[in-house]
């Protein structure tokens, strides 16, 4: 545990950065150029671990994923890519518009109106992304409170299941947005 942090989701960013920089002074390979091969090897290993950890911890979403992996609630490569039921209709429309746009591009049809339609769809999904992020934050606070209150295993598992579901929803919407952005560009 490089950073010596509890398994909580709220992290004070300036303190995290300070710790990261302090550890960088100690571990970075630049400090070991004239050292033995073993020390150089160790510095490479430890500093890469430090950078990997910092990369995950400073990103609020990656942080949740990491916590769930630590707790065994989320396994690599098992992320569900199903559409959330209440979004089905909108996703269907969106995909239709995307198909139309691709066709229009191929046949040289009218792009402008399609693009406008897609851009407004993108905005609507961006708003939904914002909502998911807000709920993710709220649920993260519940997690921290549960840790502080030393809550039961069942309670913790319940919160983690909700976090997991939110992450899946988030990555689904994110993919939609990226797909639209790619076609509209």
């Amino acid at each position: 545990m490089l950073f010596g942090l509890p398994r909580k989701l709220w992290i004070e960013m300036s303190a995290l950065e300070k710790k990261f920089l302090q550890l960088s002074w100690k571990l970075h390979p630049d400090k070991f150029v004239n050292a033995s091969a073993e020390e150089q090897e160790l510095s490479l290993k430890r500093s890469s671990e430090l950078n990997d950890a910092y990369r995950v911890l400073r990103d609020p979403v990656a942080r949740v994923e990491y916590l769930l992996e630590l707790e065994g609630m989320r396994k690599e490569g098992e992320h569900k890519q199903q559409a959330p039921p209440e979004l089905l209709e909108e996703v269907f429309e969106l995909n239709e518009s995307l198909d139309e746009l691709r066709e229009a591009k191929a046949s040289g049809g009218d792009l402008a109106s399609l693009k406008t339609r897609l851009e407004s769809a993108e905005k609507s999904f961006q708003v939904k992304l914002g909502e998911v992020d807000a709920r993710l934050q709220e649920t993260a606070r519940q997690w921290d409170a549960a840790i502080d209150a030393d809550a039961s295993d069942t309670d913790r598992k319940g919160i983690m299941a909700r976090l997991n579901e939110l992450l899946n929803r988030r990555s689904y919407i994110r993919n939609l947005v990226t797909n639209v952005q790619k076609e509209v560009l």
Partner: protein, 613 residues
């Protein structure tokens, strides 16, 4: 421990710098001509000897077949990658070369790292002549947006030149280091580096901590095939077309005439940075003279698309750093092309502040490399550089897609672990394809390496092989694997997709190292001999001085013996022996020198009043 130098291995010019121990400031080392710029041009004589720098550049006009420039554009690239460049650059590619390009110089073929090694060796010679001692360790700069293969090729070039490359430093980061010393600024800094063949943009955060100053790169972006060369190519194509229209004169872009024209156009380009117009007068083989007036406005309209191409990476780098242009406190311009007023104007406009241009844009990268060399040399110092990997690292997954395992702009060293298992019973190998790039399909990314993980026969899904991908502080990939069931570590032979294999490097090294040692010894011997001749002549002269008569017989004999010994050593090639004999003669003539000194002083004082002394 031997000295570490900083080297900027540029597309157009290369430089070597060091930290002056007296002032603590970085300084570029001049070559024999007195200039610190070594044109990155290599030429080969019919007898096989290699000519580098300014003399080679002059031969571009007289012996273009035996001379090559801008070889950095070929580093770490395959034949398929450079088809566009071939239309514009007179590279003579070996038609049989595949993943590693070989170019013809005279009647021999060389890889890009070998040619770059000639340039590095030249700079090594400059430094050795300057210090009077051997130089074997260096920090070498690379464009921030260089991929793994391009970085590896640069490291290989160092190795072939007899240099241990302790660190590859990104050029814009090096520039920030050089400016940091100069300015002592804090906050967010953007470095816009438009060189001869590459464009980079880096966003840094400068942080003061109790231990010292940290230069943290937040994001980087760029284009490794966009540079001042492209402006020259545009001008050349424009004028070529005009000459064809007006005079019906056509010539190959590889001809001497084309090289002559290019040289003239570069001069025009430079003039237009200073004045509002410039005139080209170019004599044609048919006796006619082509005349073209260039207005700065028209020139800027012509090159505008190139300048615009740099702005995409600039916007992306800021977006990745999660910053707005107005949050950037300092902007630094690097690279000769940033002398162009249009580029300065575009950068100033975008960031809405005046960019820094105080340091010579040709030297600033080398100066920064020297700063980093000094940081490494002292091990503990009050500066630390945290750089990033410019491109995402990915693994090909089912259906030709790419799974990103290390995202771009991750602080390096960075690593990622992936666990692999088998799909069928008794499968003995798992194929892994490592890529670099931002696109989602493997075919659109840069292939770094392919390898097969060996697996002991077992039921499907049972083996667990953990593969660790690690990007080191140079931005170069290392791969290791571990069987998590047995705990057995294994090293993986990774054959780079676009690079020279280790065995190939070894072979080239064997050829080159012999030369290198011979070269160094030979140069040292020449210098020692020259010095010996000077001291022998001085001793001879001293004997004619009346003061020499007061030497004792033993002293005189001593000197004669030392003179004879030195004369004997000069006929050989052992520079260490010559130096030792020089020292011995110096010892023997110590008393003689004192006598001469005293007589000189008393002669000088004679006839002067005491008060004047």
């Amino acid at each position: 421990m031997a000295r570490i130098v900083g080297i900027d291995l540029g597309t157009t010019n290369s430089l070597v710098a060091y930290i002056d121990p007296q002032t603590g400031a970085p300084k570029c080392i001049p070559g024999p001509s007195g200039s610190t710029l070594c044109p990155s041009v290599v030429s080969i004589d019919p007898d096989g000897s290699i000519i580098v720098g300014e003399p080679a550049r002059r031969r571009l006009l007289t012996q273009p077949e035996r001379t090559i420039y801008s070889v950095k554009r070929l580093m770490g690239r395959g034949v398929a990658d450079i088809q566009d460049e071939l239309k514009l650059f007179p590279f003579r590619i070996d038609p049989t070369s595949k993943n590693v390009i070989r170019v013809r110089l005279g009647d021999k073929f060389f890889t890009a790292p070998e040619i770059s090694a000639f340039i590095l060796r030249e700079l090594k010679n400059w430094a050795e002549a300057y210090f009077g001692e051997s130089v074997s360790r260096a920090v070498v700069t690379v464009p921030a947006y260089f991929n793994d293969a391009q970085r590896q090729a640069t490291k290989d070039a160092g190795k072939l030149a007899g240099l241990e490359v302790l660190r590859l430093v990104n050029e814009p980061t090096a520039a920030a280091l050089a400016y940091g010393l100069h300015e002592k600024q804090r906050g967010y800094v953007a470095v816009y580096d438009f060189g001869g063949g590459t464009f980079d943009i880096s966003v840094l955060k400068l942080i003061s901590t109790r231990e010292g100053d940290i230069y943290q790169v937040l994001s980087t972006n760029g284009d490794t095939h966009l540079g001042g060369d492209d402006i020259d190519n545009l001008l050349q194509a424009f004028v070529h077309e005009k000459i064809l229209q007006q005079h019906r004169v056509d010539f190959s872009p590889h001809s001497e005439l084309a090289q002559e024209l290019r040289k003239e156009l570069i001069a025009i380009k430079h003039q237009l940075s200073e004045s509002e117009s410039a005139t080209l007068r170019f004599p044609l083989p048919n006796g006619a003279i082509f005349v073209q007036e260039f207005e700065r406005g028209a020139f800027e309209a012509l090159i505008r698309p190139i300048v615009d191409r740099t702005m995409g990476p600039v916007r992306q780098a800021l977006a990745d750093a999660k910053l707005k242009p107005s949050e950037i406190e300092e902007v630094v311009l690097v690279g000769g092309a940033t002398r162009t007023p249009l580029i300065r104007h575009a950068v100033r406009e975008y960031f809405d502040r005046k960019p820094h241009t105080e340091l010579n844009p040709d030297e600033v990268v080398a100066l920064g490399a020297a700063v980093q060399a000094n940081i490494l040399d002292r091990g503990v110092s009050n500066m630390l550089l945290l750089d990033v990997t410019p491109l995402s690292l990915g693994i090909e997954t089912y259906g030709g897609a790419v799974a990103k395992v290390i995202p771009r702009n991750s602080t390096i060293p960075a690593s990622a672990q992936e666990t692999y298992t088998t799909g069928v019973d008794n499968q003995t190998g798992i194929d892994i394809h490592v890529l670099q790039g931002e696109r989602e399909l493997a075919k659109d990314c840069r292939s770094l390496a392919r390898f097969t993980l060996k697996v002991p026969p077992a039921p499907a899904g049972l083996p667990r092989i953990e593969v660790k991908f690690l990007i080191d502080a140079n931005g170069i990939l290392q791969v290791g694997a571990k069987d998590t069931r047995t705990g057995e570590q294994r090293t993986i032979e990774v054959q780079p997709s676009y690079g020279i294999s280790d065995t190939e490097i070894e072979r080239m090294l064997e050829e080159s190292i012999e030369y290198a040692e011979q070269d160094f010894a030979e140069r040292q011997a020449i210098e020692a001999r020259t010095e010996a001749e000077i001291i022998l002549a001085a001793t001879q002269k001293a004997f004619h001085n009346p003061q020499a008569a007061s030497l004792t017989h033993a002293e005189r004999e001593n000197i004669d013996a030392a003179v004879a010994a030195l004369k004997e050593s000069v006929s050989g090639n052992d520079y260490k022996l010559i130096r030792r004999r020089i020292d011995e003669l110096n010892q023997a003539t110590m008393h003689l020198a004192e006598l001469l000194m005293n007589s000189a002083v008393s002669t000088a004082l004679q006839g002067r009043k005491l008060a004047e002394v």
